[in-house]
Subunit: 461 residues, 2 copies
């Protein structure tokens, strides 16, 4: 850490220049979802390649069937770890344009008073502002020291806002080149303006569409009601049976691989001051559902779920139709944690349904998703170093949190490259990503550069 002070000083001194570079990148309307902007997407990639070259990266635009990737390499000291920094340079569409207070592609600084300034414009937070943190941290190391503390590969994607259709094949095709010791992902948020966060857990997902069939046609409930099987009854019973009265999921073997969260982590989450009231109040609820005697944060971050995402059957339009439908349909998903096995859970769910089906009824399945959870060891050197580095930078100690949903790229890094991901980002809940008037706090942009410089130094130490 002895040589970090000059690096941080360069970051502080060069803030205006780094902002100017971010603004250059933000002016390119790299909307990946709209084919009309394909050339702009490419232009953003080319801008990044040119900028990375100025700080000594071996950088190139790399083709995919869709928008290109940016890949850049820089060596590190002998024996230092190799990190892969991931971000995405494409942005969300901007409509409805009339809700923007200023041109989404004319970035600006806005002073909110009380010492708070924000960067306004599309991509300021998601994700151009965040990916440039990596670039600026490396630039500062180069300027202050002439070297980086680690070997660094940059991988910047141009299709993240369109579902990353080319990512998996690109990782597979370039696995040897892209494999590093750890991935650093900057596409998440802080806990609050004073508290940085490391997202150490991401729930996995298994989805299954099921269709239960009984009679060979819709029936009149007067003629057949009481004698003919009703697939809506059968499906309702199956779905109701998925949870017991304590909120636990009843699939045999469902909790295999689920670990209890360490007491000190639960204590840390408790200190985050998120209560059932603050968590559920804004959505109009008061009582946590799911397993009893667990905090809302534990429920959404560290416990698995079975969730019915949709069902349909029979007549559900205006008025009434006394029909016994021939079939009923549901979509069910399971959020997984820790070492739960998606394939085993899918199989257990299918067995669970088949066991509840009358002999003359049938079921068909259509699988969706199927990714395990990602969970960093809370006590690993990676997490400890990152936490210490962030705690040095911000007013409050870094929180080690989790996310209830998946972040696909982290899953693919794990699956294809066998690489853990450290998810640290500086977005704030009021950044309005994907919405009009997106912004990024200037402090996120400034202290975010310093944060990554500290983390890179810690990992390289």
């Amino acid at each position: 850490m002895s040589d970090l002070a000059p690096v941080l000083a360069v970051i502080d001194a060069n803030l205006d220049q780094s902002l100017a570079r971010l603004f250059d990148l933000m002016r390119v309307p790299s909307i990946s979802a709209d084919p009309a902007f394909a050339k702009d997407v490419r232009r953003a990639a080319e801008w990044l390649v040119a900028d990375l070259k100025t700080i000594g990266f071996d950088a190139s635009v790399r083709e995919t069937p869709g928008h290109p990737m940016v890949v850049a390499h820089h060596a590190g000291p002998a024996g230092a770890p190799h990190v892969l920094c991931y971000g995405h340079y494409d942005v969300q569409p901007v409509d409805p344009l009339d809700l923007w207070e200023s041109d989404p592609f004319a970035p600006a600084i806005k002073d909110l008073g009380a010492g708070r300034k924000i960067i306004t414009g599309r991509g300021s937070s998601d994700d151009k502002g965040q990916l440039m943190l990596f670039v600026e941290a490396c630039r500062a190391f180069k300027q202050a020291q002439g070297t980086l503390p680690c070997a660094v590969t940059m991988l910047f994607e141009g299709e993240e806002e369109s579902g990353s259709p080319s990512l998996k094949a690109f990782l597979e095709a370039n696995a040897r080149e892209l494999k590093a010791d750890v991935a650093l992902i900057c596409d998440t948020g802080m806990w609050d303006r004073d508290t940085p966060a490391i997202t150490a857990g991401l729930r996995g997902l298994v989805g299954e569409e099921i269709t239960v069939r009984a009679a060979n046609r819709d029936l009149h409930s007067g003629e057949f009601g009481g004698a003919a099987a009703n697939p809506l009854h059968i499906l309702a019973k199956i779905l109701a049976d998925l949870h017991d009265e304590t909120g636990r999921v009843t699939l045999p073997g469902f909790y295999d691989g689920v670990e209890e969260t360490p007491p000190e982590v639960l204590k840390m989450w408790e200190d985050l001051d998120q209560t059932a009231e603050t968590f559920l109040g804004p959505i109009g609820l008061a009582v946590p559902s799911g397993e009893k005697d667990r905090s809302v944060l534990e429920l959404v971050w560290a416990r698995p779920t079975a969730e019915v995402n949709g069902f349909a059957g029979g007549y559900a339009g205006q008025g009434f139709k006394t029909v016994i439908a021939a079939e009923a349909h549901a979509k069910v998903s399971f959020r997984l944690v820790h070492r739960q096995d998606p394939a085993k859970i899918r199989a257990a769910f299918r067995d669970f349904i088949r066991a509840r089906l009358p002999a003359d009824c049938s079921v068909t399945f259509n699988p969706h998703g199927g990714s395990p959870a990602i969970q960093l060891d809370f006590h690993s050197p990676l997490v400890k170093k990152a936490k210490a580095a962030l705690t040095d930078e911000w007013p409050k100690p870094a929180a080690i949190i989790a996310a209830g949903g998946s972040i696909p790229v982290a899953g693919e890094f794990k699956e294809i490259l066998g690489m853990d991901s450290l998810l640290v980002g500086f977005g704030l809940p009021d950044d309005r990503i994907h919405s009009p008037n997106e912004k990024y706090d200037l402090s996120s942009f400034h202290k975010g550069q310093r944060s990554w410089a500290r983390i890179l130094a810690a990992l390289g130490a």
Copy 2:
């Protein structure tokens, strides 16, 4: 009964003339659902009035907000009972026209061989062929005896195929005029070609739409899954709880007023040779659902049900969406028997749902239907006389059966006029009513006239 033989002889002798009259009526395309045929509907009513006048009825076309009613009165012997004969002279639309083997409004006789002849054309069975049985039976009495055995009121409706929108108000407005000792309804079928049937029971109906609401908006199941109430889970549990493992409905008080069917009636139904295999096989099922240890006929004719007719919630389109929906919707109906009280069952159902609702969730209800069952006393003189009269006419004894669905007019006669209905009809399962190539067996038309003559004589005796 001594004077019935000449009446039956007149019916036999005049079969061709009665067919000619039916054909005249059938040539009028009295499709009530299509406004383009409104004049034809009226023309059919006028034809009936004119015909009834020829046999001494005080007949008139009576206006309603929709299509007119035909009402006609004829006095009977002093002290004889007063019967109201109900039928409908409107017919179903005829499309798709290209599936008809002959013009639906050009009635004809078709010889199927083996002594079987049919009347082809729209309305032959439903219900012009059946309502003319009343008219022709009365005509034969007049011709043979100059009198009718009972006082007879004819009520022929012109909107039955359009949901009878004017019927209730018409009955209420003319209750004093229309009230009789019993209604005779000819709009049902025989058990088989040799076995006439008296429909002595009709299940009632209570319908309820329910919407369960939890959060104030749709939620992401990653962000909130495990902590936020899912209304699809709540609704599935409610619907699953409606039946116990023996197939009984679990609503408190649901079986109040339900009687066990007399053993001799169960024996009669058993002799009808309808098994689970013959009843469920054609719809692709094998195992009766519903209450255990009861025959399929008892289940659909004499046992009440709770049936989910539709449900919908969350995302049910193509693909998958990991949403926790804000609300879930279901339509549930109850088929009632004997003396079950629709209002009590609706209230019990609402209480049942409220008792299963988490404190921060809500439910709204939208009632549909609400009619009690209709059940004639199997041992009443009415049923006994009709059964004996029919048994005299047909190869096999009359079956006293029930219908799983309601026949609204019977409910309205009971509710508004306090009058039981005797439902006897001569349709056959292969009559293709509501479909192309509707037909009515000539034997139904001939022996149907004789059957009603026998019943009228028996009631008047």
